[in-house]
Amino acid sequence: MVREALRYRAFILIIVADVAIWAVWPSAGVTVLRHTFSNFAQMASVLPPVFLLIGLLDVWVPKETLMRFLGDRSGFLGVAISIVLGAAAAGPLYAAFPVAAIMMRKGAKFSNVIVFLGSWSTLKIPMVLFEASALGARFAITRWVASVLGVTAMALIIDRAVTKDEKRAIYARHEMI
């Protein structure tokens, strides 16, 4: 019980701060709590299917299958699939992290995981459509194309900058769920 509460210490601290703000500045405090609540409501609606799919993928998709498409020897196809996977998504970036974790657990290449993250963050098609309607197709398409190049290039740089041991340590985090 205490250990469980200890895991939430950061969150508890923030709530204490929220209440303190509310005490000295009630209108701001109410807004903070309202925002926090709606964030949780959003998370509660977005994450259940994501985690359920992750669980199902974990038991049904063999490591070899995923490695064939996204593993060390997946080459250009692996990069393309990672971009498409991220771009097909919508929803906040935090929903991409657990998906990236299962990719690593199933032996996806590190650079592909980073491409996937980058793609999810900025290439999401549903969002780009909305962007085009607000800021114009020229703006949205230019940004999309420039970002595809950037996402891929950045993944290569990060892949080079992180050593084998560091990668192994990151993958080890996700071996057990």
Binding site: A10, N39, M43, P48, G55, L93, F97, L135, R143, R173
Partner: protein
Amino acid sequence: MFTLLAYALAIGCLVVSLARDRDRTRTAFRKAVAAFTGILPDFAAVLGIVGLVLTFLSPKTVAGLIGAGTGFVGMVITSLIGAVTLIPGFVAFPLAKSLLDRGAGMAQIAVFVSTLMMVGFVTAPLEIRYFGKKVTILRNGLAYLYSFIVAFIIGLVVR
């Protein structure tokens, strides 16, 4: 819309999985719950921080700050705002559009949109839990710098 699709997909897969193997489905479900509860404390903390940031850096405040600077200084200001805030797209794009209409520069808006999406300052603690400090700093740092290149290209192509 995305949420609806995700639910349809998840429920569809769940039904197929149940039909094929109940025990495996139970394992999958247990794993899903374990993965979620394992990371929940960090999620809770990040969502709490986002609640705070959204209040003190509301879209209205952001609009005021973005209007303030022009040129490269303006880009630095808007990029920092984009990196720190977490405004959902359906609020951010109309906001960006109205700022453009009110005379904000194309490059400033482009760097704002790009950093808003690619750089996650407040979600960094969560990212660190998944990828470690080094990768998180590298990814966000490079994305921040690259946003200026994106803005430069957009400045050339879009008038």
